[in-house]
Amino acid sequence: MKPHYLQRGLIYVVLLLAAYISVFPFFWMIVGSTNTMADILKGKTSFGNALTNNITHLLEQVDLPLLFWNSAKIAVIATALTMVISSLAGYGFEIFKTRMSERVFALLLAMLSIPFAAIMIPLFITMAQLHLINTHMAVIIPTVASIFIIFYFRQATKSFPSELRDAALVDGLKEWQIFLYIYLPVMRSTYAAATIIIFMANWNNYLWPLIVLQTNETKTLTLAVASLLTAYTPDFGMVMVATTLATLPTLFIFFALQKQFVQGLLGSAK
């Protein structure tokens, strides 16, 4: 009995430590939002009352609703499209394995290793030829077929019971019906995890939107916040508010979807 409690206690201590380390910076960011720049630099860790000031200052500097809308538009559309196209591909590569498709997949994995900086300029030229510079589409399209997510879905599909598919085929279901009506519900937790990851990647996407978006009207929130930080006189309080606000949507998506994990457990096929 006793060793069991000790083990439990130890687990809680470790988890609490991990949680504290993980959360403290976020907490510091929120506290910073309520303080003035001078206080933040002095290392103040208590709440102040400069929140309204900081928010007002921020609203004067940037068109916050527009930035939010731009970021949201890109993230939502990109995430939805990625879920569809990349999960289809991941399923396809795993279920319909052929010698040829394996070679193609290996090539895809190799392509994952190219750092973005190397393809940035040719990609920019392609977008220019399609007259898509400074559009949100130019930001979305290159991310939609995500090798990373294809890879993830492929690995996850390995634990999709083949008996389910075999049974469905016997029942006369077509392939797309199997995908839609059997695969999707079973793999719900995989979709949930992938959605969180992709939404976050798109929301925080920095380098490519920086290159391809030219005007204040198309800019995303992430870009605007970075711009605030490198001014000659960066106002930390304002930057903190901006980054806190910029973080909220991803947090919200996470909270909304983590329940799916549990539901995935209850609903997963045995």
């Binding site: 720049m37 001078a38 630099l41 002095k42 500097q61 068109d63 527009l66 940035m120 300029i121 920019f124 030229i125 220019a128 030829q129 007259h131 510079i133 400074n134 920086l210 290159i211 030219q214 005007t215 204040n216 009207e217 870009l223 970075a226 711009s227 930080l229 490198t230 001014a231 000659y232 006189t233 960066p234 930390f236």
Partner: protein, 426 residues
């Protein structure tokens, strides 16, 4: 088709951006797009210029788009490298250190303004014109000067027994003495330095009339006695302990504006940042930069940063952009007074120095005629050729700084810097 597309999108952007910018409500006509960094400084001066120009030319609207500085440079370089001109602005701000890099890397991308004869370059500080000239063509409208000074907390220095007169004609060695005394008597370190940023070295070099490169663009590091003296002086400062090491721009400015350190040797454009702390009014003063001892012709004047406006050759609104620059930035001395007072922007337009604002004294800096001082120093800055590889040279020096801090040999450092620089230049 392409024309219509970009004109439409630019107009659409201007229309949408009007409420956002709070600019004058001009509708049809030309929109001149400007890219720059720092909304409060560069952006603000551009908007002021735009508003003034609009009075005589109500059909021209200015659209100022701001980015973080390194982001804008990367974005510009990426787009110029791609060869596509879709979406490029009409006017872009480029920092002086990088001017030659852009002009020589992307030769056809910029409009040689000297060809238009709209701008009289003799009315601008010589060193600014030289750095934007390739062959016999000049490409820029010179903007702010980075003429440097030593901003210091007069209250801390007074506590340590130093008055303004004591700091007028000093060497770096003397500065080290001052720094040690200040720390002993007040507990505040004199300076703060980001050891990955070689701004201080650049100030020293230009004040001594040299640069990493000789006028013909070749590296002037190895076998250059003047460079060795400058680097040795820099090493002395690094080893002196009179500074607090910091990392990053925000920490750098935050440290002296909060009063943690006593001084900052930097460009005049830092004035706005310092003056933003209104409660410190009267506690600051400005001295000339120390002189490098042992180099003939070294002066108490130098430059850090500074930038200029360039017109893209691909611009559809070239004529309007050039006329705007020539009329406002090239002739309007009153405009320069305004941006001096409001943004602390010291232009390179020589005639502006006769204006009222430039002669005024500033209570913030203890009633000194700050701008006058800077103007005087501006005239003394030795002109040097920044060349195209300044960033590479900075990186080569940064690689050796930790060794120098620990007291390593200057000769070894010079050898290593020279080797790395030559490697990068190939």
């Amino acid at each position: 088709m392409k024309n219509a597309f970009s004109r439409r999108s630019v107009l659409g952007a201007a229309l949408a951006g009007i409420s956002f910018l709070g600019a004058t409500a001009a509708f049809a006509g030309t929109t001149v797009t400007v890219w720059c960094w720092d909304k409060e400084f560069n952006g603000a001066t551009m908007k002021e210029a735009g508003a003034r120009y609009a009075k005589a030319h109500p059909d021209v609207t200015l659209n100022v788009v701001d980015f973080a500085k390194p982001d804008m440079e990367q974005k510009l370089q990426a787009q110029l490298a791609s060869g596509t001109t879709d979406g490029l602005p009409d006017i872009v701000l480029i920092e002086d250190y990088g001017a030659q890099k852009y002009l020589q890397s992307f030769t056809k991308a910029f409009e040689p303004l000297s060809d238009t004869k709209a701008i009289d370059y003799k009315t601008f500080a010589n060193y600014k014109v030289a750095l934007a000239t390739v062959g016999d063509k000049t490409y820029s409208l010179p903007f702010d000067s980075g003429v440097s000074g030593m901003f210091y907390r007069s209250d801390y220095l007074a506590q340590a027994g130093y008055k303004s007169a004591d700091l007028q004609d000093i060497t770096w060695e003397k500065l080290i003495e001052v720094g040690k005394a200040v720390e002993a008597k007040t507990g505040h370190k004199l300076l703060d330095l980001d050891l990955s940023d070689q701004g201080l070295l650049r100030i020293m070099m230009q004040s001594a009339g040299i640069w990493y490169f000789s006028p013909d663009g070749k590296p002037a590091i190895a076998g250059n006695a003047k460079f060795k003296t400058v680097l040795s002086t820099y090493a002395k400062v690094l080893q002196s302990g009179i500074y607090k090491p910091v990392s990053g721009w925000a920490e750098y400015t935050g440290t002296f504006t909060s009063g943690e350190t006593a001084a900052a040797i930097t460009g005049v454009w830092m004035t706005a940042t310092i003056k933003a702390n209104k409660d410190q009014s009267g506690k600051w003063s400005i001295a000339p930069v120390p002189k490098v001892d042992g180099v003939e012709g070294a002066v108490h004047a130098s430059n850090l940063g500074g930038s200029s406006w360039y017109v893209l050759a691909s611009s559809k609104n070239k004529a309007a952009a050039i006329d705007f620059l020539a009329q406002e930035w090239g002739k309007d001395a009153d405009f320069y007074q305004k941006i001096l007072v409001n943004q602390g922007a010291l232009g390179s337009f020589l005639a502006a120095r006769d204006g009222e604002a430039y002669k005024a004294s500033d209570a913030f800096f203890g009633g000194e005629a700050t701008w006058q001082n800077f103007s005087t120093w501006l005239g003394k800055i030795p002109g040097v050729n920044y060349g195209t590889f300044t960033n590479e040279a900075d990186a080569a020096v940064s690689a050796q700084v930790p060794a120098l801090v620990k007291g390593g040999s200057v000769d070894d450092a010079i050898k290593a810097i020279d080797a790395q620089l030559k490697q990068q230049m190939q």
